[in-house]
Amino acid sequence: MIEARKTYQGQLEKLDKAILKMGVFVEEALHKAITALIEEDCDMAEAIIFEDEKINTLEIEVEDICIALIATNHPVAGDLRHIITSMKIASQLERMGDHAVHIAKNVIRLKEKYISRLLNSIPREGEIVIRMLHEVISAYVKKDVEKAMEIAKMDKEVDELHYDNSKKIIELMLSEKEYVKPGAGFLFIDRFFERLGDHIVIICEWIVYSVTNEHRELNEKESIWHRERYSS
């Protein structure tokens, strides 16, 4: 086979690179968010907010590459699914960046930071999410369906942690009045991490779609028993 359509392949590679870069940025943002949370570092939180712009720009860049690719190269089948998947992943990653920003904002708002020491399981959630993110990006590049499905399963752990954490936070808030306001902040932070996990599951679903052309539901959260365990 001759090396076909150089520029087309080049564009596809550029696309993958942009996604990779987005993944790295988001990962970094999450790392910083956790550090900011643990070390009560407002400067770092500010940095996250400041750097989110890069992620947003990258998303637009990915979208532009995708649209230009579709408009000029008329991809079909696997290539087309790959491009659409990239676009979907980019918007998930952008949302994830936003969540990092939200976490950062809450960190800044937290005046009574000591409470965080009571809640070391929140950073734990974050670490799992980061691991998931790292792996899902490599699964995307390798088009590894198996791996994507495994990663999606890891979300369960995040969900459980979220369940425990929110309970704990509410208890804390009930225990003392001064915990109410920071507790509310932590409720949100906790929830953001849970959402981050969900976003990665969606990415996994898209990877599966990209390879198999099947829209498979990998998130078990929507089942009824779940609804009764969780409030949001």
Partner: protein, 276 residues
């Protein structure tokens, strides 16, 4: 299946051939030889009624050969041999009792290059009916109008029916050829790269026309333009030929399926432009 046929087409509707089956053509284990050279191997395919079926594939993979099997046009071209079954409306058309001349009245054909006869537009359209012995002027006129209407050409030529067909543009000529084919009241229309000699605008009109004709006819189109196949057809068959293997069918499915989720690696490579 209710069809809105032109009036004159209705006459043929009580023929034993119309049996309301889903598939109008059924190809079983088709092998085809030009002299000693095998050109098609073991093709199995059922072509659905009143749908557009596209056949795509690299050059020389036997697309045209396959198409010509449906009206025994290959026989006109030279020494050929066919094994297997080609059934149209459950009748094996290679049975010795089948008259190829009659067969071709049921299975019309439109060619790559527009090939109107150097006669007037009118004479072109009524050529078939005339050859079958129809002499009634009024009836012929009616057929001409109906066919030209169906071929979306009537408005453009109604004022110059008796001008030479060669005065038409390429795209109009091709539509005239389609009208000429329709006038014979076929059930199936075969088209061998009907738009490859035309510019994009004429091509678009032909494609549009095909979609409209699919209400009344079964259309099988050979094209080496994947974009065209994807735009116009309901079903797509991908043919291929390798160095050590002559033409065979790789994949046959709904067009959307072929272009979104082909099952075969070669199909995907071909439609993605990675082949060869």
């Amino acid at each position: 299946m209710v069809q809105t046929k032109p009036a004159y087409l209705n006459k043929g509707s009580d023929l034993p051939l119309s049996n309301g089956n889903e598939n109008i053509i059924d190809v079983k284990d088709l092998k085809f030889y030009y002299g000693e050279k095998m050109a098609l191997r073991d093709v199995n395919m059922k072509i659905p009624r009143n749908k557009i079926t596209a056949i795509i594939g690299p050059s020389g993979c036997g697309k045209s050969t396959f198409l010509r099997c449906f009206n025994r046009m290959n026989e006109v071209l030279g020494k050929t041999r066919l094994e297997g079954l080609v059934e149209i409306e459950k009748q094996n058309i290679y049975d010795s009792v089948v008259d190829p001349v009659r067969l071709r009245r049921m299975v019309g054909m439109v060619f790559q290059q527009p090939n109107p006869f150097p006669k007037s537009i009118f004479e072109n359209v009524v050529y078939g009916p005339r050859m079958f012995g129809l002499k009634n002027k009024a009836q012929l006129k009616e057929i001409a109008e109906q066919s030209l209407q169906s071929a979306a050409l009537w408005d453009e030529v109604k004022d110059r029916l008796h001008h030479s067909a060669l005065s038409l543009s390429g795209g109009q000529q091709q539509r005239l050829c389609i009208a000429r084919t329709i006038a014979v009241k076929p059930k199936i229309i075969l088209m061998d790269e009907p738009a490859s000699a035309l510019d994009p605008i004429a091509t678009m009109k032909i494609e549009q026309l095909m979609v409209e004709l699919a209400q009344d006819f079964t259309i099988v189109i050979v094209t080496h333009n994947m974009q065209q196949a994807s735009r116009v057809s309901n079903y797509t068959a991908f043919f291929n030929a390798t160095e050590d293997r002559c033409g065979f069918m790789v994949e046959f499915d709904e067009t959307e399926e072929i272009f979104v989720n082909p099952k075969n690696k070669d199909t995907e490579d071909y439609i993605s432009g990675r082949f060869g």
